[in-house]
Each structure stands twice: as structure tokens, then as C-alpha cells.
């Protein structure tokens, strides 16, 4: 399994995403923002950070990067794509996922260990989880409030496209406690919390996040 991990100037969690891929016995392939091809990878992770500084709006500049044009094209053809935190923001800006991420309702950056409920185990990234399972992973973001209009929210709920939901107090004002969503096809997933920081109880709260990368392994092997 070869998994591309995109690095924009300002990306921070690329090393962590690469490590997570290795923990799942995959090969991490670095992709640079200026690249015009995906080097034959089986899947792509758009990791967290502050791409290009995120000064305008999170992900607003990154979505125009050359490598993103390739990612968008591949995603539309069904390649598994995972956006974590800033990566989720970028996928939303790129319209691969609906809605937008806005400033946390309490206006502070929030770093904490967050319980999530797994609500869809049919995506390319979540088959290893039990439906309804609760997992504990870090959340660390200043603009993680998920917003979408009523129609979009209804569509997401009706089609079970909410993949993860916050358990307990809503950390950032997300509509319907949404932490992560998928596209209609189930190959593209975006979430604000960081599964790649929960792959080893030594450096994370748990290893609950590893399931996402192992799920991908299944998806790629079965493809």
C-alpha cells in the first residue's frame, strides 16, 4: 500500500501522517504542493497544519496548489482521500466535501483529548471500526466549527454521511456535533480530530486512531 502524504509550506502533521501509514504497514510517499502527479499512490492523506499560513481562510490558498488539482481528479475517480484538520478544511474548500469549517465558537484554539462516536463504517477509512464505537483521539484546532446550510445537513444525515460525531460537550460549535464527514461515494473522508496522533499510547491518548489507517489497508487490498 503506497499512501501519498501532501506537504504544503506550513503543513505540520505530515510527519505524523507518514508515521501512521508506516504503523499500518504502508509506504508513505511524500507529495510536494507543487507536484503535478501523484507518483502512482493508492491513496492520499492531506494532513494538518497551517498551509500557506492559513491567513486568509483555512485551506483557501492550498486548494489551488498544483498537487490538489491531481488529488481532486483522483478523488473524483474514487481514490481514497483523507483530510485531517487543515486537510479537512482544504477538502471542503476544494468542494470535495460539503460545508465549511469556521472559528471555534469560544474563539480559542482548543487542544484536548476528544471522544468521538463512529457513525459510518462503510467508508474507505472506517471499516475496521464497530458502528457506534467510541474512540479517543486528540483534537487541536482553532477553526473546527463545522457549518453547512440546512439542506446540506439534512442530506448528510439522511445519507449517513456523518462519519464521526463529538461525544460530550461540543468543543467548537459544530452543527449537529459533526466531527467528520464523507462524500457520497465514501472514498473521501474529512475530520477535524487527529487519528494520526492516536496510534501509540506512548505519544497519544490511545491507539484508537490506527483503525483508520488499517481500514485503508483493507480498502486498498480489496480494491
Amino acid at each position: 500500500m503506497r499512501v501519498g502524504v501532501v506537504t504544503f509550506p506550513g503543513t505540520l502533521d505530515d510527519v505524523d501522517a507518514q508515521r501512521a501509514v508506516k504503523y499500518a504497514d504502508g509506504e508513505a510517499v511524500p507529495l510536494w504542493h507543487g507536484d503535478h502527479d501523484l507518483k502512482g499512490v493508492d491513496a492520499v492523506i492531506v494532513p494538518g497544519g497551517f498551509s500557506y499560513g492559513d491567513y486568509l481562510r483555512c485551506g483557501a490558498i492550498a486548494r489551488f496548489a498544483p498537487v490538489m488539482q491531481e488529488v481532486i481528479e483522483a478523488a473524483n475517480k474514487g481514490m481514497p482521500v483523507l483530510g485531517i484538520c487543515n486537510g479537512f478544511q482544504i477538502l471542503a474548500e476544494a468542494h470535495l466535501l460539503p460545508g465549511a469549517l469556521t472559528r471555534n465558537h469560544k474563539l480559542h484554539f482548543v487542544c484536548r483529548d476528544q471522544w468521538l462516536k463512529v457513525e459510518n463504517t462503510n467508508t474507505a477509512w472506517t471499516t475496521r471500526y464497530d458502528l457506534g464505537a467510541e474512540i479517543l483521539v486528540p483534537l487541536k484546532s482553532g477553526e473546527g466549527g463545522y457549518q453547512a446550510d440546512e439542506d446540506t445537513l439534512k442530506e448528510l444525515e439522511d445519507e449517513q454521511r456523518v462519519v464521526f460525531r463529538y461525544v460530550g460537550e461540543n468543543p467548537n460549535g459544530s452543527r449537529n456535533n459533526i466531527a467528520g464527514i464523507t462524500n457520497a461515494r465514501g472514498n473521501v473522508v474529512g475530520l477535524m480530530p487527529h487519528p494520526e496522533h492516536a496510534i501509540d499510547a506512548l505519544t497519544g491518548p490511545t491507539d484508537d486512531g490506527l483503525g483508520m489507517f488499517l481500514s485503508l489497508l483493507d480498502t486498498v487490498v480489496n480494491a
Binding site: P9, G10, L12, D13, V15, D16, R19, G49, F50, Y52, G53, D54, Y55, H108, F109, V110, C111, R112, P138, K140, G142, H194, E196, H197, L202, T203, G204
Partner: protein
């Protein structure tokens, strides 16, 4: 008109605003003696910032010497670089070297809390980077006035957001720090920032400019008007001509963490490619500091073409360009054959890089501006041979009275439970989650311990699990009662905190925050604290590898509590054997109290 060396020679009696720039009469006289003429505007700007307390350590130098005097060869055995370099470096085994240092950004954070704190983090990170290391984590010892005071309400949220905003965006986990409230910090909060980084021992880079013909390259952000006079309070009249009527120059720098993140990655790639001879970060005193320190530490002279410096503002004078504190800039010395490779790496990262100078024969630092010489000085006199003061020292008259007033006179509580509740709820003991929750402690995936642990711990080597632990501590109230013992206590506390994680303490850094050195009582506190810290280190057998002094922390004539923040670094062979804080998870475990 630009004040050139020629012009200075022709107009020896021209009045100069040296006092407004913070220089004393005799200091100005000494500059004239060194140069055998009056300084140009640009030279004056350079000397005044470099001879400021902040850059020259003129009041503290004679005391800091004691750290060196008390460090034995055995204590020094693991030290690869110590006092005198950008940051201390210690050998932690397996071919790894670790560098760490604390810096203060107290005054800027009072003026503009967010940006002051943010650029404080930015500055210390560049110090670590300049040693050739990858910055790996930050810590932030903070002090505020009373929690309910208006000024605390103004500065605290901004400072915390600034530390977080910059560090989070740089991708450096925050693995610890302090939040302490005391009335004495009202109007003068303390913002100390620590950064720790690691490198392979063979990659250590010291800042110097050697090798005639080598190029001096400035890279990173453009130079603007921000931060001019941050160090020495450049009076605005100086560079204000009535026609131009420039607004009062702000002494506030604005941080751009994205640019710094790119600068880090770019610099690390430059080190890896082996295209750098020497490197220096630009912090307080900007180019004045970088050029004079590089030249002073090298074995030749240096020529700088100031008009080549990429600017962000129009019409900047040479003096302004030299003293600008624009952030996110570095200066490298590069062999001519490597310049092309250097530029390629910078282009990859979209970092502006400009050849602004060259290492020359001889021993002068010559700076030209459009072919006119505006600076011609012996660099050592700017960077390393500034004034040294032996300031008067006087034990405060009320010290005995203060010490006589012991807790014995306090009433004994009879309701212990109520007392515990009161204590748990007091701001200094209550949870600091409100602060730490705004800091990313996970980024880079190497954080093994962070809040609420006694010490932070990061993994350095993913294969072997080798790592380091850090803690910073200081109790200003103890230190006020007895500065010598107080500093020792700070050291002992940090040492214990590091030991409690399972690591073995090996090195010490510090940030000595005090009031005005012109107050003999403050100087006494300072002298005592340095002695206490140094003697404590000798007893424990671990060296002070570097530090920082911040004087003039006071509101009116009232000094802050003497606050010698001590940082201890420990090493652990395998972070999997760390010891987390907290009592065990299972019932029936035994609780032991160690010590007297």
C-alpha cells in the same frame, strides 16, 4: 542626506542624539575614541543597540562570570557549546546533541501582548535553529499581576494566545511552562520562552564568518520599519526630518509564524546539504547584531552592501535598516562555490535570499550604502567589547525584617478541609488548563509527557527511544526572602521535576528577570541569585550552558519579585520508561513519601 564616514570626519562637532539612544556620556566618548572620530548615524545606531543592557549584558557580565568559574571540567564533559554561543549544546549520547535556551520578551508583551509573546517564541526558536538543530518543543514560563486586575485581564489572554498562536502555527509542541500570579508583576508581566532542539553531534553550527571571499547571505522576510528601537528605545526625533514627517516609529514587531516555519525547513535543508559555514539569527538589534557578531567571531573582516537588503518600506535610512527588528530573518556565511546551491534551496521554499556581503581580509566591518561608506568599525568593539559595569550592590535595609517575619506569626487553621479547598481554588494552584488547552502538545508526534506532568518529555530518536525531559521553575517569593537560597530552590525544584519523569538531569539554562540594575538592592538580589544558582549547580554537578538576563522589570520604582527562572534538561535512554505524574490506577497501591 546620508551621514557617511567622510561626512563624519568633516563634521566632527555635529551634535548627535546619543542620549536619546540610551548611551551615556562616557560611552559616547568611548565610541569616539575607538573610531578616532565621531560615529556616523548608522554607527551610532549600531553601537547604541549593541551596547544596550539587553545585548551587551553590561551590568550582569561581571556576575555571570561566576558560572564559568564554578563549572569544573567534569561538569563540562558533556557540553559541546556553552555560554557565549547562541544557545548551549549538550551531548546526550548515541550521537545526538541537544540545545536549549530561555529568552525573555517581557516589555514587548506588555506593550502588545499577542505580538510580543508571539515574537518572543519566534526569537528563541531562531536561536535554536542557528545552532544547526531542528527545534522540537517550546515551554513558556509566565508571570502576571493579580488575576482580577484590569491590566492582567488585558495582557493575559493576549499573551497566552500569542504563545499559542505562534507555537501552534510553527508546529512545535508546548510541553510545559508556568503561570504564576503576583501583584509585583502588575504592569510588568514576564513572558519567558524556552525552545529545545536536537541535531546529530557532527551537525553543530557555530555562528562565525571565516574565510576571505565567503559570502554573507541574508534570507527570510523583508526588512521593514517594525521594531526599530525595540532594544534601545530609538527616539523618533532622530530619524524624523520635518519634511518627511514619518509617524512615531512603532517598537512593536509583528510575527509571521508561517514565514518562520518555512525558514526552519529551508535552514534545515541548507544544513543538510552542507552549504553553510556559519549562521546567525536576527533578533533584537537585527542586522547590527548579526553582522557584527558574525564578523567578530570570525577571523577576518566583513563588507556589507546595505542597499542590497530587501526592504518592505520605502525611504529607510541605513541606520533604520541596521536597527530594524523585522522578524523571521537569518544570516548565513556561505562559500562562493556553494552560493548557487544555497539559492536553489531558498527558491524551493520561496524564501527570499540576498547576497548582502562578503568576508574580507583585515579586521574591519565596513558597511556601504550606494557606494558610500556608512560604517567602518572594528566588529569586536560593537559585539563583544561593550562597556562593563560593576554596579553598586547593597543588601536592602529591610531584608532582616522581611526574614524575621516568619510563618510562625500566622494563625493556625482549624478546618483543614476548608484550607485545602481554598488552596486548590487559588489562582496559583488551580488548574492551568485554560492556558494549556490553547497549546498544541501533540504536533510532531514525539511528546511523551506534557501538561499536567511535572516535566515535559519528548522523544528524540524514534529507533532507540532516547529522549529528553525539561522543567522550568522559580518561586519569586522565596527568592525575595533569600535570593541565594531562592535561586537554589528554583534549581532544585526543576531538577526534581525532571528526575520525577524518570530522566537524569544533565544541564541547566536560566532566564534571570530582575528590576533595575541601577538599584543597588536589585543588584544585590541579582548577585546573590547568580551565586546561589551556580553553587547549586556545582553541588549537583550539572553545568549552566546558557541563559538570558532581563533587567528593568519594574512598575515605577517598584521592582518585580526577583525571578530567576531555571530550566533543567534531563536525558532518558528510552522514553517508554517514563514515569507519568499521578497516583496509580489500581486500588491498594502503596504511597511512599521520600525525603525528610
Amino acid at each position: 542626506m546620508i551621514d557617511t564616514v567622510k561626512n563624519a570626519e568633516a563634521t566632527p562637532d555635529q551634535e548627535q542624539p546619543y542620549k536619546e539612544l540610551g548611551l551615556k556620556d562616557d560611552e559616547y566618548a568611548r565610541i569616539k575614541e575607538i573610531l578616532r572620530r565621531r560615529p556616523t548615524d548608522a554607527e551610532l545606531a549600531m553601537y547604541s543597540v549593541m551596547w544596550s543592557e539587553h545585548c551587551s549584558y553590561k551590568s550582569s557580565k561581571v556576575h555571570l562570570k561566576y558560572f564559568g568559574d564554578t563549572t569544573t571540567d567534569e561538569m563540562r564533559s558533556k557540553m559541546l557549546a556553552g555560554i557565549g554561543e547562541n544557545a548551549g549544546v549538550v551531548d546526550i549520547g548515541d550521537g545526538w546533541a541537544v540545545t536549549f535556551k530561555v529568552e525573555s520578551h517581557n516589555h514587548p508583551s506588555y506593550v502588545e501582548p499577542y505580538q510580543g509573546a508571539a515574537t518572543g517564541v519566534g526569537g528563541i526558536v531562531r536561536d535554536i535553529l542557528a545552532m544547526g538543530a531542528r527545534p522540537l518543543a517550546v515551554m513558556d514560563p509566565l508571570r502576571f499581576g493579580r488575576p482580577d486586575a484590569d491590566d492582567t485581564k488585558r495582557v493575559l489572554p493576549g499573551i497566552v494566545a500569542g504563545v499559542g498562536g505562534y507555537g501552534n502555527c510553527l508546529g512545535l509542541p508546548n510541553i510545559g511552562g508556568e503561570v504564576v500570579f503576583d501583584e509585583s508583576y502588575q504592569g510588568n508581566p514576564l513572558v519567558n520562552a524556552l525552545c529545545v532542539g536536537a541535531m546529530r553531534t557532527e551537525d553543530l553550527h557555530l555562528a562565525h564568518a571565516s574565510g576571505t571571499g565567503n559570502k554573507v547571505i541574508l534570507y527570510g522576510a523583508r526588512t521593514g520599519l517594525d521594531g526599530i528601537g525595540g532594544v534601545s528605545v530609538l527616539a523618533s526625533e532622530t530619524f524624523d526630518d520635518t519634511a518627511g514627517k514619518r509617524k512615531k516609529l512603532p517598537s512593536v514587531q509583528v510575527g509571521d509564524p508561517f514565514t518562520e516555519k518555512v525558514l526552519i525547513e529551508c535552514s534545515l535543508e541548507l544544513f543538510e546539504k552542507g552549504v553553510v559555514v556559519g549562521i546567525q539569527d536576527l533578533g533584537g538589534a537585527g542586522l547590527s547584531c548579526a553582522t557584527s557578531e558574525l564578523a567578530s567571531a570570525g577571523d577576518g573582516g566583513m563588507h556589507v552592501w546595505l542597499d542590497r537588503v530587501p526592504l518592505r518600506a520605502t525611504g529607510m535610512t541605513p541606520a533604520e535598516i541596521l536597527s530594524s527588528e523585522s522578524q523571521e530573518r537569518m544570516c548565513a556565511v556561505v562559500e562562493p562555490a556553494n552560493v548557487e546551491a544555497f539559492m536553489e534551496v531558498c527558491a524551493k521554499w520561496d524564501v527570499i535570499a540576498t547576497e548582502i556581503g562578503e568576508v574580507t581580509e583585515g579586521d574591519r566591518l565596513v558597511i556601504t550604502y550606494h557606494d558610500e561608506v556608512v560604517v567602518d568599525v572594528p566588529p569586536r568593539t560593537v559585539a563583544h567589547e561593550g562597556p562593563v559595569y560593576n554596579r553598586p550592590i547593597q543588601r536592602p535595609a529591610d531584608q532582616d525584617e522581611l526574614q524575621a517575619n516568619t510563618p510562625d506569626s500566622l494563625p493556625r487553621p482549624d478546618d483543614l478541609l476548608a484550607l485545602i479547598k481554598t488552596m486548590a481554588a487559588s489562582p496559583n494552584l488551580a488548574s492551568k488548563k485554560w492556558v494549556t488547552q490553547q497549546y498544541d502538545r501533540y504536533v510532531r508526534g514525539g511528546t511523551v509527557l506534557a501538561q499536567p506532568s511535572d516535566g515535559g518529555m519528548i522523544r528524540i530518536d524514534e529507533e532507540t527511544g532516547r529522549g529528553v525531559a525539561l522543567s522550568t521553575d522559580c518561586n519569586g517569593r522565596y527568592t525575595k526572602l533569600d535570593p541565594y537560597e531562592g535561586a537554589k530552590l528554583a534549581l532544585a525544584e526543576a531538577y526534581r521535576n525532571v528526575s520525577a519523569t524518570g530522566a537524569t538531569p544533565i544541564a541547566v539554562t536560566n532566564c534571570l528577570n530582575f528590576g533595575s540594575p541601577e538599584d543597588p538592592a536589585v543588584m544585590w538580589q541579582f548577585e546573590q541569585a547568580v551565586k546561589g544558582l551556580a553553587d547549586g549547580c556545582a553541588e549537583l554537578g550539572i553545568p549552566v550552558t546558557g541563559g538570558n538576563v532581563s533587567f528593568y522589570n519594574q512598575t515605577g520604582s517598584t521592582a518585580i519579585l526577583p525571578t530567576p527562572v531555571v530550566g533543567v534538561l534531563g536525558v532518558i535512554d528510552d522514553v517508554r520508561r517514563r514515569i507519568p505524574t499521578g497516583i496509580g490506577a489500581e486500588a491498594g497501591e502503596t504511597l511512599l513519601l521520600l525525603g525528610e
